[in-house]
C-alpha cells in the first residue's frame, strides 16, 4: 500500500472543509457580489446544491471500487490505455489546481500585507512545509488540521460577530427582482467550482475507516463550507452594500478591517492572515498529496515519497508561470476557471465515468 494512513469520518469532514473554505472565503465573495449583487446568497445556495450533486457522484463512483483511488479505478472503467490517459490528465489537473491555489496564497499575502516581499518567498516556504506534511502522509496533515479547523471556524464566527455594528441587513433588500435569474446563475459558477473540490473524496475514499460514510462526509462538509460562505457573503453585503463589495479584491479582509469597538478592539485583520496561512497550508498539502499519490499510482510505484520533491518543483514553477499578476489570476478565476473546472475534472468527467461504469457493469472486487 502506498499510503498507510487511515482517517475517520470526523477527521475527513474537517479536512474537506479546510480544503475548500480558506480560498473560497477570500476569493468568492467579490466575484459573486459583483455579478449577483445583494442576491449572491441565492447563487451560493445553488452552488451548494451543485456541489452536493457532484459530491454524490464522486462518492457513488468510489463506493463501486472500494480500496481504490480515482487514479486506479479509471483503468477498471475505461480499460488500461484510455484509463491510464485519463488518470494522467487527473494528475496534471491536481498539479494545475494546486499551482493556482499556491499562487492565490502568495498573491493575497503580497497584495494585502507585504507588498515588498517577492511572491516566490511565500510560495516556496508554504511548499516546503507542505512537502514535509505530504512526506509524513495523510494522517499527519489530517491531525494538524484538527487544530486548524476549529481555529478557522471560530475566527470567522468571532470576526463576523464583531463586525455586526457595521452591518445593516437592509442592504440585502430588495431580494431577487432587481437582478433577475441570469446574474444569479452566472454568479453561482464560481462558488460551485470551489465547493466541487469535494471530488477529492474520490482520491481519499480508500483511506477512510468508515468507507460507507462517504455520502455523509460529502454532504456535511459541503453544508458546513456553504454555510460559512453564506455567513461571509451576507456579512460582506451587509457591511459594504452591493455596490461597494464588487470593487474590493478581498471583501473578507475589508469586513474585518472595519471592526472598531470601543476604540481598542480594532485592527484585527491579522486574524484573516492567520486563517489564510493555516488554512492554505492544509489545502495545499491535500492537493499536493493527491498529485504525488496519483503520480505514484500512475507509475505503479511502491512508495510515493521519492516523488514529493520533483512534484513540488513542478508545482512551484507552474504556479509562477501560470499568471503574470494577481489581476490576471483574478480575471481567470472569475471567468474561465469555473466553467472549465465544472465541465471537466470537477464534474463532467466524473459523471461520464459513473455513466461508463454503470453501462459497462464494472464493479471492483468487494473486499
Amino acid at each position: 500500500m502506498l499510503e498507510g494512513g487511515k482517517i475517520n469520518t470526523r477527521q475527513a469532514i474537517a479536512l474537506m472543509v479546510t480544503m475548500v473554505l480558506p480560498t473560497a472565503f477570500l476569493f468568492v465573495t467579490s466575484v459573486t457580489g459583483h455579478l449577483a449583487k445583494q442576491d449572491g446568497w441565492i447563487s451560493l445556495l445553488l452552488s451548494i446544491f451543485t456541489a452536493l450533486l457532484i459530491g454524490w457522484v464522486a462518492v457513488n463512483l468510489s463506493l463501486r471500487f472500494p480500496g481504490k483511488t480515482l487514479f486506479q479505478y479509471v483503468e477498471l472503467i475505461l480499460g488500461r490505455w484510455l484509463g491510464k490517459f485519463v488518470a494522467f490528465l487527473y494528475v496534471l489537473w491536481y498539479i494545475h489546481i494546486n499551482a493556482l491555489i499556491i499562487r492565490e496564497y502568495g498573491s493575497f499575502l503580497v497584495a494585502a500585507f507585504m507588498p515588498e516581499t517577492p511572491i516566490s518567498v511565500f510560495m516556496l516556504l508554504i511548499l516546503a512545509i507542505s512537502a514535509y506534511a505530504v512526506r509524513n502522509g495523510l494522517e499527519v496533515f489530517t491531525r494538524v488540521n484538527e487544530i486548524i479547523f476549529p481555529l478557522i471556524l471560530v475566527t470567522v464566527i468571532v470576526t463576523s460577530a464583531l463586525a455586526t455594528p457595521e452591518m445593516d441587513l437592509k442592504r440585502l433588500q430588495p431580494v431577487f427582482v432587481e437582478n433577475g435569474p441570469v446574474p444569479i446563475l452566472k454568479a453561482a459558477f464560481m462558488p460551485a467550482a470551489w465547493m466541487s473540490e469535494i471530488v477529492m473524496l474520490a482520491v481519499l475514499s480508500p483511506y477512510l475507516t468508515q468507507i460507507k460514510d462517504g455520502y455523509k462526509i460529502a454532504a456535511t462538509s459541503t453544508l458546513i463550507t456553504g454555510t460559512f460562505l453564506i455567513i461571509s457573503f451576507v456579512g460582506g453585503i451587509a457591511t459594504f452594500g452591493p455596490e461597494v463589495i464588487g470593487g474590493w479584491l478581498f471583501p473578507a479582509l475589508n469586513s474585518v478591517r472595519v471592526i472598531h469597538l470601543a476604540n481598542f478592539l480594532e485592527r484585527l485583520e491579522v486574524t484573516v492572515m492567520v486563517v489564510w496561512v493555516a488554512g492554505a497550508l492544509v489545502k495545499i498539502s491535500v492537493f499536493y498529496w493527491a498529485a504525488v499519490l496519483g503520480s505514484a499510482q500512475w507509475l505503479e510505484l511502491k512508495d510515493y515519497r521519492p516523488l514529493v520533491l520533483p512534484v513540488g518543483i513542478i508545482l512551484f514553477a507552474t504556479s509562477i508561470m501560470l499568471h503574470d499578476s494577481i489581476l490576471d489570476l483574478f480575471v481567470f478565476l472569475g471567468t474561465a476557471w469555473p466553467p472549465f473546472a465544472l465541465t471537466t475534472f470537477q464534474g463532467g468527467f466524473l459523471l461520464l465515468l459513473l455513466a461508463a461504469a454503470i453501462i459497462r457493469g464494472k464493479v471492483g472486487k468487494r473486499k
Binding site: A112, F113, M114, P115, E116, T117, P118, V121, L125, E166, K170, Q173, P174, V177, E178, T239, F240, G241, E243, V244, G247, N254, R257, V258, H260, N263, E266, R267
Partner: protein
C-alpha cells in the same frame, strides 16, 4: 554525521528567515499620519496636508501635559494625485509615511465643491489607510484644520476624532461615505468642521494673561449633490437630519413647558429609532417617518409641573415629540426646498420596497424626492427623571 550537517544547514537557513521580514518597519522609522487633508490647488492639482505624530514628544511626558515639545508636525505639498504628492512629501519627511493610524480625512471646501470622487480612490486602494477613519469637510481649507492644536488631547486629529466619535452631530466613517458615494438612492453627506473660538487656557496669573484659543469644532453637515459639495446644514438642522436618517442618537432635546410659558425642559436621549416607510400609488410618492424615542428628564425650568403626574408627563412627551418633528421638518425643508436633494437615503428605502418602480424613477430621484409628502409619527417617552421627581425649590 550527514544528518547533523543537514540539521545545521537548516538551522542557519531558518535563522536567515527569522531575522525579520522584507517589509519590516520599526516604530522609529515611521512617520505616523494622524490626520490628512485634501485641498484643491491651482491648475487642477491637489494639495495634500499631513499631520504627523512627533513620536519623541509622545514618549517624553508620562502624564498628559508632560511633554513641552509640540507633538505634531504639519506638512503639505501639491501634485497631480494624492500618491504623487505623497512621493514628493517623502523627499521632505525623513521617515516612511505610515497611514494605518490616520484618524481623520478632511476635504477642503473648494476641493469638495469640484467633486470629491476625484480624490477618494487612494484611500480605499492603498493598504494602509483604514475604512474607519472619519470623513469631514472643512469650511475653508483642510490645511488650516490640521494646523490647529488641542487643549485636552495630544493632537488636534485625535481631538477631532473623539468629537466625531461622540456623535453629537453627524459623523461618518470612510466606509459609509464611499457607500453613499456609490448609492443612487441618496446623496452623500459628511461632517462639517470649522475653526472656532475654543475658550481660554488660564495662565499663571503672576506671569501671563489667559490665552485665547482657536480650535476645531464640528459645526454641522456638508451636503453633496452626487460628489459635489453644494451646501451645509447647521447644527440644529443636523439634529433633524439625524432623526430622519435614524443614526445613533445622543444628546439633549429642549422643548418649552406647556403650562409655564418661557420656561424650558431638557431631556437626555437614551434610545431612538427611526423607520421610514415609503408609499407609492403610481403617481405620487409619500413617506411615513415613525420615530420612537426614550429619554431622561435632566433639567426643568418650570416649577409647578412634575413628571410624576401622568397627565403632565404626557403633556411633556407630546411637546417633546413636537420639538423633534420640528427639527426634522427643518432639515427636510432645507433638503427638499433649498437643495432639492435626498440626503436621508429615502431613495434606498423606496428602492427596497418598490424595486421595479425605482428603475423608472431613479434617474430623476432628487426631483421626485423634493415633491414627496412626508408625514411624521413621533412616539416619545420620558423614562426617568434623574434623582428628582418634582421640584423642591418652591416655597409652599
Amino acid at each position: 554525521m550527514r544528518n547533523k550537517l543537514a540539521c545545521l544547514a537548516l538551522l542557519v537557513m531558518i535563522a536567515g528567515v527569522l531575522g525579520g521580514c522584507w517589509s519590516r518597519k520599526e516604530m522609529s522609522e515611521l512617520a505616523i499620519v494622524l490626520g490628512a487633508g485634501v485641498d484643491s490647488a491651482p491648475g487642477g492639482q491637489v494639495r495634500l496636508t499631513l499631520q504627523l505624530a512627533r513620536t519623541s514628544a509622545f514618549m517624553a511626558g508620562g502624564d498628559g501635559g508632560g511633554g513641552k515639545e509640540p507633538s505634531t508636525w504639519v506638512i503639505s505639498d501639491t501634485g497631480e494625485t494624492i500618491a504623487d504628492v505623497q512621493r514628493k512629501l517623502s523627499a521632505k519627511i525623513s521617515r516612511h509615511i505610515y497611514w494605518a493610524h490616520d484618524v481623520i480625512l478632511v476635504f477642503g471646501e473648494e476641493a469638495a465643491r469640484g467633486g470629491i470622487r476625484k480624490y477618494t480612490n487612494f484611500f480605499s486602494r492603498e493598504l494602509q489607510p483604514r475604512e474607519t477613519m472619519w470623513v469631514m469637510v472643512a469650511r475653508g481649507e483642510a490645511k488650516d484644520i490640521l494646523e490647529t492644536g488641542s487643549e485636552l488631547e495630544r493632537t488636534s486629529a485625535q481631538d477631532i476624532g473623539f468629537l466625531a466619535r461622540a456623535r453629537t452631530g453627524f459623523s461618518v466613517i470612510f466606509k459609509d461615505f464611499i457607500i453613499m458615494l456609490a448609492s443612487k438612492g441618496g446623496n452623500p453627506i459628511a461632517t462639517m468642521v470649522e475653526i472656532v473660538d475654543r475658550g481660554v487656557i488660564s495662565g499663571d496669573i503672576a506671569k501671563d494673561k489667559p490665552t485665547k484659543r482657536k480650535g476645531v469644532a464640528l459645526t454641522g453637515t456638508a451636503v453633496f449633490d452626487d460628489d459635489k459639495l453644494v451646501g451645509w446644514l447647521n447644527m440644529t438642522e443636523t439634529r433633524g437630519l439625524l432623526w430622519l436618517k435614524g443614526e445613533v442618537l445622543k444628546g439633549v432635546i429642549t422643548f418649552p413647558s406647556l403650562t409655564e410659558p418661557g420656561r424650558e425642559l431638557s431631556v437626555n436621549i437614551i434610545r431612538g429609532q427611526t423607520e421610514v416607510e415609503p408609499q407609492y400609488d403610481g403617481e405620487s410618492v409619500r413617506f411615513y417617518v415613525n420615530i420612537e424615542v426614550e429619554g431622561d428628564l435632566i433639567e426643568q425650568q418650570s416649577v409647578h409641573e412634575s413628571v410624576l403626574e401622568e397627565h403632565e408627563r404626557n403633556g411633556m412627551e407630546k411637546e417633546m415629540a413636537r420639538e423633534i418633528e420640528g427639527k426634522a421638518r427643518l432639515a427636510l425643508d432645507k433638503a427638499q426646498g433649498e437643495y432639492g436633494l435626498d440626503i436621508f437615503d429615502f431613495g434606498e428605502a423606496f428602492r427596497r420596497k418598490y424595486p421595479r418602480e425605482w428603475e423608472k424613477l431613479k434617474d430623476r430621484w432628487n426631483e421626485v424626492f423634493s415633491g414627496a409628502g412626508v408625514e411624521f409619527a413621533v412616539d416619545s417617552h420620558i423614562r426617568r427623571s434623574g434623582l428628582q421627581g418634582r421640584r423642591t425649590s418652591v416655597p409652599e
